[in-house]
Symmetry: D2
Subunit: 348 residues, 4 copies
């Protein structure tokens, strides 16, 4: 079997990461790479780390160039996918790494992104838990549309969803502070993202409930809890190219013990190959998952503040974007879930 | 006037930073530098960045070598200062950059540090606010003993103390997540602190109420609030040599507006030369204060979660240690508060 | 087919990298991991990024634990392999990632390493060129012993060997300045390798002909040139975990043109899958090869100084150590050369 | 005495560094800051680390805004100063941190910069040695025009000039490989300078004699040697915001010993307060001089290659730009040479 693939936005960080991972996928053939301003150039000039596809020519991102593939990955700016998607023929699996199809609420979309809502697609987080105990994986089988979660929501949802699903966390007053590597801010040249600026320092941004990922995180928690969950989310920019460390804290329902908490998380992820609760005493580090599709977390119970603190690490470009996209593609196509995703974390 | 100074623990990061700053202090003469294992060596071999004192010889850390100076800085491991201090003659200003004399509660000390409490000294955070509106600065005048605050507590206390003092923050359920540069972990060679390990990644540590700085933070907040304040504190290690970014969030008392919050912080720090609330719309970055004694913060109000989020940056080795120590020394000796502390942040 | 493998020194950076890569090798089964001080511990506690082998128990490094495997990788300190190797049974492929068996000259060994020479094994650099035009690849087929080249020599030899082999470079006065990531200095805790020290700065070391890699580089160049080649080599430590950038310059034989130089390098590497000369106008970056087994270079001709300057990048732990070792293993066992080595560079 | 100063290009890295240092200069008052695109904004929004001048308003860079100051610093793009300078009144000390007035040869200027030569000004490297033994310092006294050297030339010239001046180095075949922090590439937003790109990796650029700093380095060496000196210069970009490590190697005149070399360098710099040869056995690190005006070097003799290798570190923005500019200003105005330059290196 050989599955033909097109990657739109191949010269950005998300698109480049899809290519990097697909280069090791045994069932996939990358047929077409597209971009906007760099159409006509050699891919090796724009994404020189992906040697395997270096001699491909970048094409323009149009319905025509994308048509005729089994799978189309869209790694485009927010709002750019709607027109393209409308022209995609039946039978094409379209995987949108952008935000356009993540939110259920058209109102939230309009409030945070300012444009018309393009609709809601199946959410590409296979390990997400519903109150009934089933996982989102089931909803991805045979789908032809996948909305890849945001990177912050991926880490945040994996961190606390088991507790909300099991009813051991209070739905009010969740606080999340997350640090992300700079690739999360994209490849567009901006002064505040220059290496001279980001290297050796940290800064917050979008503080105060304004970040676009807040409604996506609340949407997931609320679905898992079966009731509205309210989140204070603060993202910070860390001096590293990749990785997210999310520190997610929530109040524990009275009477629940630390062991009960651990049991809930173990039950949720014990059989997962990409999501892991560390043994007690070991803490996650973003470099454990650098370049890999794993999410690794540790859970602590602070009896003093009566909160649980779950720290969760992912690679924002892998489990947080391209890896999650490919994992979901594998599920949709009935392939083993880990094809193209066997790489371990790059450390040191 | 020339004030004679001895620095104990001169070859560690805190001691080296005291020397770096004192090299530009016009009223001070560094007469003696001491250390433990490196006694007898040339200081230039151990702290080569401080050219001015490169030819001094490191002496052993004993009561004898430290006696006879106007000011003695102690930058020693926790628990090492008690014996030395007992031997210090009257009239010597002793400034302890270690933790030994910070906590009021002997019980907390024993619980978190495991040894006998050495006593409580005036706390070297001049900008700290008491319920009556006076500042800690007053308590440092003419003192002969100063306990330099920890670096995390410095950032955390500066961030939220105005709100507790003014009664606009709820005392329950404060959540702080802070990122520190690696110098906060000291200069002792440990595998997990190797550059290969820390570079390019982030990790949490001491999660779950166990960190030694939690009681120090709660002590300060509670003093300012006039009632017990309870904190969930999570420190993380960031891939940078210096700097702390503290994200401190607390619930806002019902009815308080964002403008009222800003007014409270402005009132607290508007006349301070080292502590600043940024204009609206600008966020702090640790590199704004790299190498300088400034603390810079921004305040956001999240009406959605009904929390205020104050992000505060300091250089952990300057305002968080050596700079705070020298500022307090200046106050104790009746000197202008900014002598030796004129350096601006090193950026980029 | 399943090839059984043991990795000695599995908890160091070189050993950990062998494991990371073997986790994706389809024909290999890692049966045994050994170390010295950490025997008895769970591998996941020591190399947590390699999830696949996390539950293996580290054994002691002895002849007994290593015996009975098809392939044994030795990632041990210099001088530690001789005794182990003596006890290895016939038919075992032993691959030494240490320096012990690289040098032909027992005299040079003694001078630079201070111990008795353990003998010379086939040199694991498949792309190395001999004057006759054959490559070292031929000498690795069916061998039972492989000496993995040093990381600096790998980058240096790949950079200039084509020119020496083709007789277009002068053998005198080669100058190499190379920057290495900190993992090249190993995982032993040392103060000068702390992240606080290495982050944000560069430093030279071992300047003045003293570096142990100089005789290995000269040995290779001299073999390729068929006459003694003399090198001035200066290594520097760069603030990054991985990667080598070697800037290798040599005088060009009079009358040779830039195009002739390019033709020589193209002829040498045009058919190689892991060694590449970039198109004109593009420069190598260490992140192009981060985590991958590629070596990427560019060649410039400076008519002004009549020198060629070849800049070559590798990942010191992959092509410079573990990847080169696995590539050589594949050749020795008659497997496709790229098994386990399909990963592209991790960038950004 | 209070000297009025204007800084043109105050929002770039060089201009910002002039301000950072002048903030501690006791004899100077910064009256005017100018820029191009950001005129009208608050300086604190653009250079927030320099708290002292945060409330100044950026003005447009014109002859009018710059006129009426004792000293004008120009930190502008190449080619932008000529028109401004023409309008400066008599009696104003103009210090150009750009390249326009560094080269003696109008031909070289045209070849490397492509515009008309603006003329040659006294070269702001006080420690530069002439064959007669006098230093450039003498030529800066009472001058009204100063051309600040480039950052690479500063490190390169300080490294080898003593040897050329003393006749102990051969003038042919000098090879320099230098690593620079990213601030050397300026503050203009470019994709290849994003933190995601620069962090964690190294790359060369401008290889093959093309770099604009080559003629400036050769000009200096040739002046010191009294005969033409020819250089192969390769710059590389290192993952750090600041700092240059230059590795400069030259052939030693036959018969000269290592001790004779050390004596020559000691004689040249023994009395300098900003340029230092380290004691034997110690190597320079860029962080020794981070933020300070020092240049620190070590000299090695490689008898094997018959070359001396001098490794020299500076902060590219201090001794390499703004610090050198202020040091030269102090000399021109008859002030103590170290005013505003007392800061020691920021380390760790």
């Amino acid at each position: 079997m050989s599955i033909s693939v097109a990657v739109a936005g191949a010269t950005g960080y998300a698109g480049g990461e899809v290519l990097r991972l697909l280069a090791t996928h045994p069932e996939v053939e990358v047929k077409t790479v597209t971009a906007h301003s760099s159409a006509g150039q050699r891919l090796g000039d724009l994404a020189p780390h992906v040697r395997r596809f270096a001699d491909m020519t970048v094409q323009d991102t149009t319905v025509e160039t994308l048509t005729g593939h089994d799978v189309v990955f869209l790694a485009l700016p927010h709002g750019a996918s709607a027109n393209l998607v409308a022209g995609m023929p039946e039978g094409t699996l379209v995987i949108d790494a952008g935000a356009d199809h993540r939110l259920n609420s058209a109102e939230d979309w309009k409030k945070f992104y300012g444009t018309e809502h393009a609709g809601t697609w199946p959410y590409g987080l296979p390990e997400f838990l519903f109150p009934c105990g089933s996982k989102q994986r089931e909803n991805l089988k045979n789908t032809q549309r996948i909305a890849v979660p945001g990177c912050y929501p991926t880490a945040s949802l994996l961190a606390l969803t088991p507790g909300f699903q099991a009813g051991v966390l209070e739905p009010q007053d969740v606080v999340i502070v997350a640090a992300s590597g700079t690739s999360g801010a994209g490849k567009t040249a901006k002064t505040h993202l220059l290496g001279s600026e980001t290297s050796g320092g940290m800064s917050p941004y979008g503080v105060g409930g304004m970040h676009r990922h807040t409604p996506e995180i609340e949407q997931g928690y609320s679905l898992a809890a079966g009731q509205p969950v309210q989140v204070s989310f603060t993202p910070t920019l860390a001096p590293m190219p990749r990785g997210i460390l999310a520190t997610a804290t929530a109040k524990v329902v009275s009477g629940v013990t630390e062991q009960q908490l651990r049991d809930v998380w173990e039950a949720a992820y014990g059989n997962e190959q990409f999501v892991h609760l560390l043994p007690e005493g070991q803490w996650p580090q973003t470099k454990m998952v650098q370049g890999s599709n794993h999410a690794i977390m540790q859970l602590a119970f602070d009896p003093h503040a009566h909160r649980t603190i779950v720290t969760c690490v992912i690679d924002n470009l892998v489990k947080g974007t391209a890896g999650g996209a490919i994992q979901s593609m594998n599920i949709a196509l009935g392939l083993p879930e880990n094809l193209g995703l066997l790489q371990e974390g790059l450390s040191p």
